[in-house]
Amino acid sequence: MTIKVLAFAGSPRRHGNSETLLDWVLAAMGKDPDVSIEKVALTEANINPCRGCNACEKLNRCIQRDGLDIYHDKIIEADCIVLSSPIFCMGLASQVKMLVDRAQVFRSRKYVLRLPVVPPERKGKRLGVFLATAGQTWPHVFDAAVPSVKCFYHVIDIRDADISYLMINGVDESGAIVSHPTAKADAERLAQNVIAEQKKRLAA
């Protein structure tokens, strides 16, 4: 059994707090020999914003030719999709919002054209993970990001109940997450739980 994990590092800053959190999750997942991981840094992925042209409602594909051409197929093929973002101005980084908005092609496929996003036998077997870090200490600092994340997973056929979250606030300076008392252990535990659940789903 191979478990395909596709991970998006959403921060414009490479190897900062949110990417470190992602790396902890991926390292723990990667300890399992059945797991194959692909990590993509969105700042290098050449994904443009959605143009709102609604052409995908007719064409079943996006009219833009850019990085999403590659990740569109990978999003369908993956078993587990991990998305990480820093919180900028109380929401997802705009680099992440670009990816999330471009999932409109999946929403058109699902709700306008009434076509499957994944083959029926893979439905309910995909899992999502959302990782975020914020400099602010407010507990509500992630509230505006979560609905967009839920929407993204929903249109790519990952159910609301199948998304795991790890969101760490109060990590402001570069590298601050390393000194966080629980983040690393939480990341590793989340990774183990997700892979165990993923195996159960794929075996079912």
């Binding site: 921060s11 414009p12 800053r13 900062g16 700042t43 914003p49 959605c50 143009r51 709102g52 042209c53 820093p86 900028f88 101005c89 109380m90 929401g91 997802l92 980084a93 705009s94 680099q95 919002k97 670009m98 999330v100 908005d101 999932a103 409109q104 509230d143 505006a144 990001a145 979560v146 609905p147 967009s148 839920k150 929407c151 993204f152 570069s174």
Partner: protein, 203 residues
Amino acid sequence: MTVNVLGISGSPHRHGNTETLLDSFLEGAKAGGASVEKVVLKDLTYSSCRGCNACHKNGVCIVKDDAIALFDKILNADCIAVASPIYTMGITAELKGLIDRGQYLWARKFILKTLYFTDDHIRRHKGLFVSTAGQNWDHVFDGAFPAITAIFNGTGFEYYDNIIANNMDEYKGIKNHPTALADAFAKGKKVVGVLMAMEPAGP
């Protein structure tokens, strides 16, 4: 006194529901006697915030592009109407990209302490959020408000009002909405009236 009203259209889609609603607001503001300008973000060239934090040292963004001139324009306006359709339960990436670039103003306020807006300044600067959503959910705008609050706070504007209309999919467009366009016009006229009626700012 001239009231300067700046409309910022964050939709990638020209003359769609949100921009039409913004246009009604701006027409109302004009009818109220304001000087009105509209900026369309998709016609500008600016990149996303790099998160490099260079601005934390000197309050200046190292990326020189159209975003900086637009922030200057925002800081010189008396009233701004920031418009975005709801995409994926939030504002568009174009508008989020602009708002994130305001980090250098945040750095001036909170790290360098070289920028400060008095309560009186904020009272005299009104910000409005203009938005439409296809979904009929009442909570469809909730993910947008915090980022809008962030840009108003960062640029010294009071978050004065929302001009928002959901359920566009059902209405088949803003033009078929029973009240939205007229309400937007009325709110444009009203906010200009409120600003004009204020006593002159002190020395």
